[in-house]
Symmetry: C2
Subunit: 343 residues, 2 copies
DNA sequence: ATTCAGATTTAAAACGTTTTGAAATTTTCG
DNA sequence: CGAAAATTTCAAAACGTTTTAAATCTGAAT
C-alpha cells in the first residue's frame, strides 16, 4: 500500500507538501497539487486511517449500544437507525461499533466499551426519563448525542422532534373539525417524549376549552391500543377522535372502533404519530392514516454530524436540534359527527 | 490518559521495559514487573489501541455485512451472530464494523468497505453456491472466514457443520425405527449446505435400500413447509417420516400432518435440523422435536478466533473446521406404523 | 581481579500521518 | 535592480506503541 513517503519520493517533494496537497490546503501551488494528485491516483494511495487517528488523537469510532430482548430480537427501528447512522458517519470517516445490551444494568455496556479505550463518543437512543446513561457519560466526560431527550432543557447535544407540538397540532386540527371528545392513547411514561406529548395534549385541550379526561397511557403494541380504545369507547360520552402514539397503536385502535360497529372517519377520527417505519406504512391503512410525520431516518445524518461536530469542539448548546413533525391529513380524520359524538 | 511514557517517567524506567513488563515478556525482572503493574494501575493506564494498531499494522477492525430485506428487517439469526461475534472478537481486541447491504450487487458493499482502507478482514455468512464474495475477496487477497461453505473442498478458512451427516444421521435413525418412506423437506439449493443435505440424504437412503423420491426443496418458511408436507402426504405411498431443514419448517410440516388428521409421532415422525435460535425452541414443540442440533451461536467464537489466527499467519488449511451436529431424540419421532405406513 | 554468560534494561527506529516553525522561492513594487 | 512581501516548500517533531540491536548489570567461575 502506497504511503505519503512513496509519493514524496516519486516526486522529489517533502511528505508535508504531499499531505497538504491531498488535503486541499490553500498554500500549495496548483501545479504541484496536480502532480501530487496524479501520482497518488497512479500509485493507488489510500490514507492510513490508523496513522491519521493516532496523530489526530481520535479513534474514528463511535459506539452504539443496542438493547435486545431476551428472545434476541430487537426493535424494528434498529436497522433503520443502523443504516442511516453508518451512512452518516462514513461520510465523516467514522465507524460505528455496536455492542449488545441484554442485561438489566443500563450503564454496564457503556462502561465496558469505555474500558477498552477505543471510542470517541456515543450515540444514545430510546432514552428514558432522567436516563442513567446520560448521567454516567456526563460524569465520565464522554461526548455523546442523544436521539430524543430525557428531560426538559437538556445541556447536552440532542436531536429530537417537538413532541408537545405533535399532540397540540393533532388537537388543533381535530378541534377545528368540531371534535370535542378527543382521546389520547399515549406511549409509556418512562419515556420523556410521552410526557411531552401529554403536556402538549393537555395544554391544547385547555386552549380549546375541552375536557381532557380521555387519556390512556403505557401503550406500545397494537393489542394494547386495541384494548385502550375498547375501554374508551365503552364509557359514556365516548371520544369521537383518537390521537395515537404510533401507527401500530392506530392499527389496534381502528380495529377496536370497527369491532364496536363504528366507521372511520365518519363516526370516529383517528390520527397517529408516524415514525415512517417501512413495515407499518400509514398510507397503506384503510382509510389512509392522517399523521404527524417525522421519519426516524431523518435523524440519522444530523445525529452523526452533530456528534462529529461535538468531538471537534462545537459546544453542546449549538448542537440542540428540535424539528417539527409534518401534519399530513389523509382519510382517517373527518368532521365530528353531528352533536360532536356518535353516541 | 496515562501513557507508557508517564509510567516510565514515574519509575525512572525506559518505555521499552514498561511495555514489556505490561505485555508479559519473560525477560523482565519480577520486581520491576510488579512495580510497573502497580504504577499502571495507580495511574489508570490503558493502552492506546490506535498506537498499537499503527505499529502492528492492523486496524483492529473486521467487517460484517448484513443483508437486509427491503422492509428493513433482517434474519432473526442476525442478533444471535452479532452478539456472539462481538464477544468473540472483543476477546482478541478487535471490533466489528457493520455495513448494511440492501442492494443487488453482492460484492458492492465489500468493495466500498475495502476502499475505506480500514479493515483487516471479513466474516462472511449465509454463503450461496460459488459465492461471488468469496471470489472477490480472494482476488483482492483480503483475509476472511466463512461461516458455512460455498463449495466442496474450499481453500479458505471456514467453520461449518457436517451437513451430509445431518441428513444421513436422520435417515439412519428413522430407518432403524423401520421407516421406509422418508421425506426430505430441504432448504434452498442456492445454498451449498442444502446440496450437502440432499447428498447425505440420497446416500443414506441408498445404503438402506430405500427409494428417495420424496424430496421437496426450496422451502424456507413454515408456510412453505406446510405446503410441501401437504403435497407429500397427498400422494400414494406417502411418507411416514419427515426430515426438515429447520425448526420453522418442522412447525409447518407438523401442522400439515395434523390437518390431515394424523398424529405425531404415532402416524408420522418428524425430525428437523435445529440452529437453536431463541424464538423457535425445538424443546417447546408438542411433542418436543427430535433434532440434529448445532447452535448457530457455537460458531461465533471459533469464527472470531479463526479470523484472528488467519490474520496472524496461520494458513487456511489449518483453519477449516467441520463439526458434527448432535442428534437429540425427543418425542416427535417413533417407530414406523405397522406396515411402514399409515395409508 | 578478570572474564564470561546470562539476565535485564536501554536507546532508537519504526509505523504513517499531521502540524509547526522556519527556509526557500517567487512576486511585487519603489 | 533591490528590498520587502507573498507564496510555496521543507525538515522535524509529534502522536503512543512495539521491536531491534546494543548496552549494562549481576554473579559465578577462573
Amino acid at each position: 500500500m502506497a504511503t505519503l513517503k512513496d509519493i514524496s519520493a516519486e516526486l522529489g517533494l517533502s511528505v508535508a507538501t504531499v499531505s497538504r496537497a491531498l488535503n486541499g490546503f490553500p498554500e500549495v501551488n496548483q501545479k504541484t497539487r496536480d502532480k501530487v494528485q496524479e501520482a497518488a491516483d497512479r500509485l493507488g494511495y489510500r490514507p492510513n486511517r490508523v496513522a491519521q487517528r493516532l496523530v489526530t488523537g481520535r479513534s474514528g469510532m463511535v459506539g452504539l449500544i443496542v438493547k435486545i430482548r431476551p428472545d434476541m430480537s430487537a426493535d424494528q427501528t434498529f436497522f433503520e437507525v443502523l443504516t442511516g447512522l453508518t451512512a452518516g458517519l462514513a461520510a465523516r470517516d467514522t465507524d460505528l461499533v455496536l455492542a449488545v445490551d441484554q442485561g438489566d444494568d443500563p450503564v454496564g455496556p457503556y462502561r465496558r466499551m469505555l474500558e477498552k479505550n477505543i471510542l470517541d463518543g456515543f450515540i444514545l437512543n430510546e432514552p428514558i426519563v432522567d436516563d442513567p446513561r446520560v448521567a454516567f457519560l456526563q460524569k465520565q466526560k464522554i461526548p455523546f448525542v442523544l436521539h430524543g431527550a430525557d428531560r426538559d432543557d437538556p445541556d447536552y447535544p440532542f436531536y429530537t422532534i417537538d413532541n408537545q407540538a405533535v399532540t397540540a397540532d393533532a388537537v388543533d386540527m381535530l378541534a377545528h373539525l368540531n371534535h370535542r371528545r378527543i382521546a389520547l392513547v399515549n406511549g409509556k411514561l418512562h419515556h420523556h417524549y410521552a410526557h411531552e406529548r401529554l403536556e402538549g395534549f393537555l395544554k391544547a385541550m385547555g386552549r380549546h376549552g375541552l375536557a381532557s379526561d380521555l387519556v390512556k397511557t403505557e401503550t406500545k403494541f397494537d393489542s394494547e391500543g386495541y384494548l385502550a380504545a375498547l375501554e374508551l369507547l365503552a364509557q359514556a360520552d365516548a371520544p369521537s377522535a383518537f390521537i395515537c402514539a404510533s401507527t401500530p397503536i392506530a392499527d389496534g385502535v381502528i380495529r377496536a372502533i370497527r369491532d364496536k360497529g363504528l366507521r372511520v372517519p365518519e363516526d370516529v377520527s383517528v390520527i397517529a404519530h408516524d415514525d415512517a417505519m417501512p413495515l407499518t406504512r400509514a398510507v397503506n391503512f384503510d382509510p389512509a392514516l392522517t399523521v404527524t410525520r417525522a421519519p426516524l431516518r431523518d435523524a440519522c445524518v444530523p445525529l452523526a454530524n452533530m456528534l462529529m461536530d461535538h468531538l471537534n469542539g462545537t459546544p453542546a448548546v449549538d448542537l440542540q436540534v428540535t424539528v417539527k413533525a409534518d401534519l399530513i391529513v389523509r382519510g382517517s380524520t373527518g368532521p365530528a359527527p353531528k352533536g360532536g359524538t356518535w353516541t
